[in-house]
Symmetry: C2
Subunit: 178 residues, 2 copies
Amino acid sequence: MDREPEETDDVRRNAGRGRALDSLDRKILGALSEDATRSYADLSKEVGLSAPAVHERVKRLRATGVIKRTSADLHGPSLGKDFLAFVHVEAAGWGKTEGIMALGELPEVEEVHAVTGDTGLILKVRMDCPEAMEGFLWRLYDMPGVRGTRTYVVLSTHLERGVQAGITPDLSQGDNLK
Amino acid sequence: MDREPEETDDVRRNAGRGRALDSLDRKILGALSEDATRSYADLSKEVGLSAPAVHERVKRLRATGVIKRTSADLHGPSLGKDFLAFVHVEAAGWGKTEGIMALGELPEVEEVHAVTGDTGLILKVRMDCPEAMEGFLWRLYDMPGVRGTRTYVVLSTHLERGVQAGITPDLSQGDNLK
DNA sequence: GCTGAAATCCTCACCAG
DNA sequence: CTGGTGAGGATTTCAGC
């Protein structure tokens, strides 16, 4: 379970047309992905840089798209969205047409992925109630190219988080509990 | 802590044991879910309140759990995570056992949902490469109760966002575009 | 990337409705 | 009880090094 993280800093294929991410960048990203409200002064003590240096890095990480955005993660049930489901859409000959884009307009659709296998499209949808789900599926069937759907209703969510920076927890440091 | 909260009956089913959310709360939530770096002064101009009032509401929304946290959304490919997949786990007789909790320890696992249907568990996993996927599936098969898996490899992601506040875009207001 | 200073912002007090 | 006003303190942010 604990493997030595080799210091291979060679960049493979950087989407952001910037420079490779070093260990400090990953440390910053890991911290901000868990709590983006932390101050630069606070982060600076953790990464061993000055506050403006951290700020400069974060600014660069935002500009290059490594940090897509900083968002408040909302609690579905508090907003009346008690109903979460994954919908597998069996679509026939969908290019990346307007149909997919139209799905993004609906606030209940949180994710749209084109996948391999027998389905073609996986949707993550969250709404108020089963009735809303029914209405959504009807609209889905009305779209051209939709041959069928398979819906997996979520009974309980045990984990739901964003992309992990992949930092091994700082066992070597152990410096602060903040 | 210092006051007993009187349970108003008009609260429908509030997960956070707080009060219902009004239109201003939703407006704030909608804005912060898209960009949590905006200042309270900025938000106050949009919702028509003073900055401290907005801050007070946000503080309450955090305390009641409506805002679960504020996080930086990272770009997978920039971190070397080019491989996203949904794994349907056919599990036999899993209570909410340690097996599920163990999955959360793995940084490649982003979501774990118990679902209806023939699968039982849906996992969202993101990693470096197909080889890592293979290793992950092996570890999955080693877990007790895992009878089988079906993996849907994501070819392209067209939408990926958090819980939407569900505000209809303010067409009636039209006060400012920020 | 560091230091220091200025502008902004957060945050708390207190007061009004 | 919720929102407004004003001031103190922290933070962001931009110089120059």
